[in-house]
């Protein structure tokens, strides 16, 4: 089961396509974050 509304979002650090690191913590206190998990890029994703 995915996480639920009201849960604390687990922190993460991932790299974007230009290899910049992006963490959830980067946005804390600043912005809401929309995390969209999507299926493999070259499927009809």
């Amino acid at each position: 089961m995915p996480l639920k509304v009201g849960d604390i979002a687990p922190d993460f650090t991932l790299m974007d396509s230009t290899r910049n690191r992006v963490s959830l913590a980067d946005f804390k206190g600043e912005k809401a974050v929309v995390m969209a998990f999507y299926v493999l890029a070259f499927t009809p994703g």
Binding site: I8, D16, E30, A32, F37, A41, F42
Partner: protein
């Protein structure tokens, strides 16, 4: 397809003060090519090769190995405010996420 929908309303998310992040388990070269092809302005993040984020957010599917199509809306305090799950309706992810971030933007800060 889902990312195209997010791309098309990226400006609306910016106005509502929200950051969109696309996450998949693709390695960097295919992510880069995909980002370029789509012309998205928000980061596409790679959870490859450890898939720790997909597992942490409970969207990991073992066989075949890929991430399920789930969108989370997280407020600026790090609390999940929306979970959108649909494998078939590509537009619902960006539409519902935008509605939730707009609602969040109207809440008084404390």
């Amino acid at each position: 397809m889902e990312m195209k929908c997010f791309r098309d309303v990226a400006g609306d998310f910016e106005e509502a003060g929200a950051q969109v992040l696309g996450v998949s388990i693709d390695p960097f070269p295919s992510q880069g090519a995909f980002a370029k092809e789509l012309g998205v302005t928000f980061p596409l993040l790679s959870d490859w090769p450890q898939f720790a984020t997909a597992k942490g957010y409970d969207v990991w599917r073992e066989s075949p190995p890929l991430a399920k199509r789930v969108t989370y809306v997280i407020d600026k305090d790090g609390i999940i405010r929306g979970v959108i799950e649909s494998e078939s309706d590509m537009e619902v992810h960006s539409r519902d996420a935008l509605r939730i971030v707009k609602e969040l933007a109207q809440l008084p800060g404390c």
